[in-house]
Symmetry: C2
Subunit: 353 residues, 2 copies
């Protein structure tokens, strides 16, 4: 086929900043969220902050996979309930999970009757959803977008690693997939003026520094987090002090230390602002989760339950959510491949007072 167009310099784009970041000038709001967590997450330090804590991991279903679907369905209903709207008043859902072919998302969405655009970036799914959802609202393509993610420890463990019945011993670098679902409904500032606003987003690139060990995903994901954080600052002209909190998704203890080291090489110090959802989810003294929590619902649930209320109240003014995803599969692991990773970042700011 003959070439029909030639490359031209990219002209000014009104809503793009630098190489990888977007600005949402209409400031889409997070109108409502809802979190459903498993019993172990309910027993953790944040247990009292989640909307629903399940009494067991089966959630009234016959298998863990269906339990995960039901959590996501309930989170969507719960978020819509907070807004006092039927789910049918949501324009579109963007959902993601860890199970093969995103089945949690797709099976849950079939009961809604509203459009679904499936997304996938492993445990970075919530930030990818907030980014794309904010684009849809900011650009006038949707009035309300539901962003939903789910993960289930037992369903993930038997898919990714070993049959759970084996009780295989896990090394100290291992993380614990969070059993949870979280949904956030994004909408326009005309509807949610005082609610926290999504102001900027930085889309991540896939990075692979050669880590091969699925029991140490924090180390695989830290370089992607560092890359996206660095890019966010250079694209937006901001620096760590512009944020009260920089919340990574699930680097956990091992990955967080590596993130500090990588950013120090770039003369960036985020230790004062940094918190990690994978560390906050569980109490290491009481709960045997090794390096910390993981899963797409980890950052989503911790953000929604622990930090969104503070943004609503104005006790936190600016938060940068940096969700990280390890992009391997069982097949790639068995074929000896390394683990690529990605991180997407979203800036969320208080609009109270």
């Amino acid at each position: 086929m003959a070439e029909v167009t030639t490359g031209q310099p990219v002209a000014y784009l009104p809503n793009k900043l630098g190489k990888q970041s977007l600005q949402f000038k209409s400031e889409p709001r997070i109108l409502a969220t809802y979190t459903v967590v498993g019993p172990m997450e309910g027993e953790g330090p944040l247990g009292g902050l989640f909307h629903t804590v399940l009494p067991d991991t089966l959630n009234g279903q016959t298998c863990w996979e269906k339990a995960e679907q039901k959590m996501l369905e309930d989170a969507l209903q719960g978020a819509a309930g907070h807004l006092r709207i039927p789910v049918s008043d949501i324009d579109v859902c963007l959902c993601s999970d860890l199970l093969n072919q995103n089945t949690t998302s797709n099976f849950s969405m079939q009961k809604t009757g509203i459009p679904h655009l499936g997304i996938f970036s492993a445990c970075a799914g919530f930030a990818e959803g907030l980014l794309l959802g904010s684009v849809l609202v900011d650009g006038g393509y949707a009035a309300r977008v539901a962003v939903g993610v789910a993960s289930h420890h037992d369903a993930a463990e038997r898919q990714y690693r070993f049959p759970t019945e084996l009780g295989t011993q896990r090394p100290p670098t291992a993380q614990w997939t969070v059993t949870a679902a979280a949904v956030a409904i994004l909408g326009r500032s005309s509807e949610g003026g005082a609610e926290p606003a999504v102001t900027f987003a930085t889309a991540g690139r896939v990075l692979d520094l050669g880590q091969k060990e699925p029991y140490d995903m924090g180390s695989a994901m830290a370089p992607a987090a560092a890359d996206t954080i660095k890019r966010h600052f250079s694209d937006t002209g901001r620096n760590p002090a512009d944020y009260d909190v920089i919340l990574t998704g699930d680097l956990a203890r091992v990955g967080s230390e590596l993130l500090y080291q990588l950013l120090e090489q770039e003369n960036l110090d985020i230790r004062r602002q940094h918190q990690d959802a994978g560390i906050l989810m569980y109490d290491p003294q009481r709960q045997d989760v090794h390096s910390g929590g993981s899963g797409p619902a980890c950052s989503a649930a911790v953000f929604s339950a622990r930090f969104l209320p503070a943004l609503r109240q104005g006790t936190i003014r600016r938060l940068l959510l940096v969700a990280t995803g390890a992009l391997h599969s069982v097949t790639t692991y068995q074929q000896g491949e390394t683990i690529p990773a990605i991180a997407h970042a979203v800036a969320i700011e208080s609009r109270t007072g």
Copy 2:
């Protein structure tokens, strides 16, 4: 948590039509595409239209999964080459495939150095990508977006069904996953004025009419295609006669007949305009593919190779691409679940002459 906002009627949205459709007023253009196909696809009726036909299914790699990755990488390089730009001049990639955890997309994208937003709706991935990519370009969030999809018969078959070495007999309703990759680069009308434009899109909803047989995906997907097509016409005020071609992704022979029946119940007759990529890809007299082709790269490759040139030349003025996806996994099949499906539609129009 207390309710803090109450539902309000959705106000006028400038770029939304009806319940599920979007209008792209700036008319993003398809600046370039590139298709790479396997040997069997090269021997089919469209063989001479693809950019690259591989001599074998390993594509110089050590396994089919890596062969699929290499196809997607080459398609991206090829599309950028047609535009005479380096891949780094693309703002963001939206990629999708069938392998667990979208590993084809993610492993391919790590070599690009540009942001990646992973998407998943099984074989409907190309249309979902064109929809979201057009939003990004139309809304001023990106100047160039690459939409990429890939599938590989052998990699898909051993993941979804049986070890390929078994040579398991397939029923007549079965479809053949296409070995191919296709990338389309979307851009602004200022760059590609005479190129075909994406004017409307209709996001599909997940539907499940209770079909359980993974060897008959056409029947599982036809209701979703009918639902989205019907919704597209009611949202946009268009009717079948407004299109020269209505191209479904991969309903193949069995699913296409069912689509006609379902639409007839809605007083819609698309027989005159309808073509199916899964039927067009292979010659049933010479190639033993039963009902026809499938896979996310099926609709993408057939659209890019067979129909996009006609839109460029103006011999087709308007095409509605309706890509369909079956949203099951091996786990859901083994757990006795039915097969939900989705279809996303994108209207593409000639801007020549």
